[in-house]
């Protein structure tokens, strides 16, 4: 792709559709992220317990167990046979994301997402173009390394440093408010994305996002470009997309207009920012691997720099 002078994305959509519709999905997402956090916080703040625990494992209304499958996978590899509550919780989470889209977790639940989104927004505002180009496949290596290290050391390795659960835990248990060390981790990720590598953490390094991408490869929720004929190549969508490589195939004149790449987080920002309403979020039949293609091949190729 080459776009010599890029305009700031957003104003064109606001002019065409109004402020609300030009930010609809963003508002919905921030609301969802706040709501997921609120489920955990009504208990400690007001004594009304809805969800106890953290994103690693929780119990809702005293009956519904939910477990992060990646954390449980590490525990299994580390040599522990977990009790049924945790296993059921992991199966529920795994099933939901496999059915929908794995990286919905990233754009609708994960507390780190607003941080990296903010870094990307600031980059755009400051007009920062340059930065280190990391390989998108790095995150698959980090994921493999996490699982390998858990197997070898017998410790749930990633949880010692995982910024996702670190931040969530300190929000819910109050150590962030008390000035815990987690601030430094969050600041480090923000500055890394801002000054070192654009979309560096979520787009290239985070093994949690990589894991959910793999899980939700054949999910049904997807963004598509049904009105791609109206596209005037303003590139606004590319600029706001946290995984810009996923858009190009859907905008081509030929082939499917559905964004099948598991990297797409279904954040809907492209829908918001397109002045011509090219994109729409909806249910689509997953693209199953063609007979004879090794299952891993599609995902890896889609992670390739294009």
């Amino acid at each position: 792709m080459s776009a010599p002078s890029r305009r700031r994305p957003g104003p064109a959509a606001v002019a065409a559709k109004g402020r609300l519709r030009a930010n609809g999905w963003l508002i919905a997402r921030r609301t969802a992220q706040a709501a997921f956090l609120a489920l955990f916080l009504t208990g400690p703040l007001f004594g009304v317990w809805i969800t106890k625990g953290t994103l690693a494992a929780s119990e809702t209304l005293g009956v519904l167990p939910l477990t992060d499958p990646l954390v449980l996978a590490q525990s299994l590899l580390a040599g522990h046979a977990p009790e049924t509550a945790a296993v059921i919780g992991a199966i529920l989470v795994l099933g939901a994301y496999a059915l929908l889209r794995g990286r919905l977790y990233c754009s609708w639940v994960c507390p780190i997402n607003p941080v990296t989104d903010a870094a990307a927004a600031l980059r755009r505002r400051l007009g920062l173009k340059e930065g280190t180009a990391l390989n998108r496949r790095l995150r698959h290596m980090v994921l493999a390394a996490v699982l390998l290290a858990s197997l070898v050391t017998g410790v749930v390795v990633w949880e010692a440093v995982n910024p996702v659960t670190l931040l969530h835990r300190s929000l819910v248990f109050g150590s962030l408010a008390a000035g815990g060390l987690v601030w430094t981790v969050v600041a480090a990720i923000f500055l890394f994305d801002l000054a070192v590598a654009p979309r560096g953490w979520c787009g290239h390094l985070c093994p949690v996002g990589a894991f959910y991408a793999r899980v939700g490869r054949f999910g049904t929720v997807a963004v598509a470009a049904p009105r791609r004929a109206a596209c005037d190549h303003c590139m606004d969508c590319y600029q706001v997309c946290p995984e810009p490589h996923v858009i190009a195939p859907a905008l081509r004149d030929t082939g499917t207009d559905v964004i099948h790449s598991p990297d797409c987080t279904a954040c809907g920002r492209c829908i918001d920012v397109c002045p011509h309403d090219v994109f729409a979020l909806g249910l689509h039949r997953p693209r199953l691997p063609a007979a004879g293609t090794p299952v891993g091949a599609t995902a890896l190729r889609q992670g390739d720099p294009s």
């Binding site: 625990g53 477990t67 449980l72 390394a145 390998l148 290290a149 017998g154 390795v157 440093v161 060390l181």
Partner: protein
């Protein structure tokens, strides 16, 4: 672009090899980073029913459900670079000890079994073990009657008792020394919490630290003999003992 026909193939193999090596190094790094989490500060005690530390670090997903269900706010989750592995539950006896709830809600809440449900009686919990460390500071050792640690113990007279010793200084009084039976003490920390000194003279330490450990090859002769039900070596000739035999033994000295 390489013109040689085997170019792309070779490049792919090299890239794959680099990826595998990179993954290995990353794993090594992560393993090292997580390794310090294996050391638990001596002040940090695990909740009742916690598996042995190495197994606990494989089992606990750091969810905090145990923390939430503790009615006394005893437990807390470790922050980054805290006294225990990041995100794992622990408590500090001197701050809030474990109240030894009969229904053990923390164990009931644990979804993974890191706090094992095989613990059904709280008296069987072994969160650590109390030790009298202040042999120069404990008021009872100094000859006073404080007894606070002894009186607050939920397992008074079994986990902790007062042992009478002659007071050499006055020559007329007794010391009542708090003595912990590490086989019975649950490590709840109530004694440490209530010790009246500025810095507690009695402390709950992780069981390994508190109890010490014999070498695996050590055998206690009298126990082996008891188990065997007979002398371990047949035909030992018991020669008459020579030397000093305290009169109190009526000549029956048996080493």
């Amino acid at each position: 672009m390489s013109a040689s026909p085997e170019g792309p193939g070779r490049r792919r193999v090299l890239a794959a090899a680099a990826a595998v090596c990179g993954t290995g190094f990353l794993a090594l790094l992560l393993g090292r980073v997580a390794a310090p989490s294996r050391t638990l500060a001596a002040t940090a005690l695990r909740p009742p029913g916690a598996l042995a530390e190495a197994d606990f670090l494989a089992a606990c997903v750091r969810c905090g459900l145990c923390v939430r269900d503790c009615p006394y706010d005893t437990l807390r989750l470790a922050d980054l670079a805290d006294a225990a592995a990041t995100g794992t539950p622990y408590f500090v006896a001197r701050e809030i000890p474990c109240e030894m709830c009969e229904d053990i809600p923390c164990v009931a809440a644990c979804p993974t079994g890191a706090l094992t449900k095989t613990l059904t009686r709280i008296d069987d919990a072994r969160m650590g073990s109390a030790v009298l460390v202040g042999h120069e500071t404990c008021l009872n050792v100094l000859g006073l009657r404080c007894d606070v640690c002894y009186r607050v113990c939920p397992l008074i007279d079994t986990a902790i008792r007062l042992e009478m010793r002659h007071n050499e200084r006055t020559g007329r009084h007794a010391h009542l020394i708090p003595v912990v039976d590490t086989d019975v003490c649950t490590g709840c920390g109530k004694c440490e919490k209530s010790c009246v000194l500025e810095e507690a003279a009695i402390k709950v330490l992780p069981a390994d630290l508190a109890r010490g450990r014999l070498g695996d090859h050590y055998r206690l002769g009298w126990k082996e003999q008891e188990r065997a039900g007979k002398p371990l070596v047949d035909g030992i000739i018991d020669l008459p003992d020579r030397g000093y035999v305290p009169p109190s033994l009526n000549g029956e000295f048996r080493p």
